[in-house]
Symmetry: C2
Subunit: 258 residues, 2 copies
């Protein structure tokens, strides 16, 4: 099977000109098939505020009413996605910007209301890899915004980490998939404020232990849950690392193992 | 050669739920290869106002400073484009939303400043049909937002009528192209306020005459210039019609002939 690298980048990286430019240079240099999945939450919050739309977060997840859905559709699907595409094109990488609605790539269901009504948030139901594979065979690099659709005309806001792992799982049927979560820290840290506390390798046993003793805090748990889910569903390797180490094989951040 | 229908829709059509829904139903029913090109100017103006960005139009064209470029990137590339895509998917049409930056489809040059500085407005330089054709061969329907790029990382705002005619011209090398400009009037009218004054057919000679005697006013001239340019560059037929007549062959609006 051919190799495929899926890079998820979020946090401050894509929303600041300099770090974005460095990321795109590094991403471009990855050989073989590749996909970039991005966030954009900070920009969405800023634009929402300017439009008088209030941002409400519950357990790190954005509550998405109709107005906020329009904001994230504009910011993730338009502003962030298309600037990344233009930036990659300038570096000679033939990118195409897509949401889950495009070519029906990712279908989701509006999250059922339990204690919390998250609004127009979609939980992934089905990933269609046919056209993505076809585009990659032609040398095209997909850039995916964290939006999905329900197949009935409704766009839905979906967590970018989840989109990255769901794509990785679905594509692992036809590719040897390497999933890289990039952000502004060096990896999973035992002390979030101290980059020197990097955990070089983590497996299911260690993860349990670190969760129990509080070494790994709340912010990192959804990302690691996604990582372990990907590994147990066919993905070859998952790494959590600093965006600036994306192309430095000697500084691999945290390697997640089954 | 296979048939390809390119529909450009603008004005109020795509920005009101009911007329958009009808348009998407009609568009979906067009057989064979098809491409939808959309505008979104009214929404851009409304969102810009909410964000405190002033809209300046010169001869019907939007002056696009950095802030306005962000607005049109959000509105055209995100809000309008992705809602059309989700709407078409719901009708069983496998749409993909694209700008000119995606897969390097449309490269443009920032308009040189003469009397007027239009800002980040792009004049089309080069259309690349390779990936568009490939997608259509797979049954995918491109939905194009009126944004292009300069190949150096800069997105540019480009008139949707022009994008439609440039795509039509480039694709006429490999397809028999029918170009349909849809809007909220019945076609080219000799009295803009009176739908019964519809001009059923217009050719170069009549166009000259109507321009000279004032029958055709300023608003229609760029659209007709695009139409005649398309016809003289390989496009098979151009029609200017009411969106609600898109699938009514007995009410074809204005047929433009060489």
């Amino acid at each position: 099977m051919e190799k495929l690298t899926i890079v998820k980048v979020g946090g401050k990286i894509v929303e600041e000109v300099e770090s974005l430019n460095q990321l795109l240079t590094d991403f471009k240099s990855i050989s073989g098939n590749k996909i970039l999945v991005h966030g954009g939450g900070r920009s969405a919050t800023a634009i929402a505020a300017k439009l008088g739309v209030e941002t409400t977060m519950v357990e790190g997840r954005r509550v998405t009413d109709k107005e906020m859905l329009d904001v994230v559709t504009m910011v993730y699907g338009g502003l962030v996605n298309k600037n990344i595409v233009a930036g990659l094109q300038a570096k000679g990488c033939n990118a195409v910007g897509l949401t889950g609605a495009d070519m029906d790539i990712i279908r989701s269901i509006k999250r059922p209301v339990k204690e919390i009504d998250y609004g127009y948030v979609g939980d992934v139901m089905d990933v269609n890899t046919r056209e993505l594979s076809l585009l990659m065979e032609q040398g095209v690099t997909p850039v995916i915004a964290p939006l999905t659709h329900d197949g009935k005309g409704q766009l839905l806001n979906t967590n970018a980490d989840t989109i990255a792992s769901e794509l990785a799982i679905a594509l692992s049927e036809n590719y040897k998939v390497f999933l890289v979560y990039c952000f502004e820290k060096d990896g999973v840290l035992s002390n979030p404020e101290d980059n020197s506390s990097l955990i070089l390798e983590i497996d299911t046993e260690l993860y349990k232990q670190y969760k129990a003793d509080g070494t790994i805090g709340e912010g990192m748990i959804p990302k690691l849950d996604n990582a372990f889910m990907a590994l147990s569903s066919g993905v070859t390797e998952v790494i959590i690392t600093n965006a600036k180490n994306l192309t430095r094989p000697q500084q691999r951040g945290t390697v997640v193992r089954k």
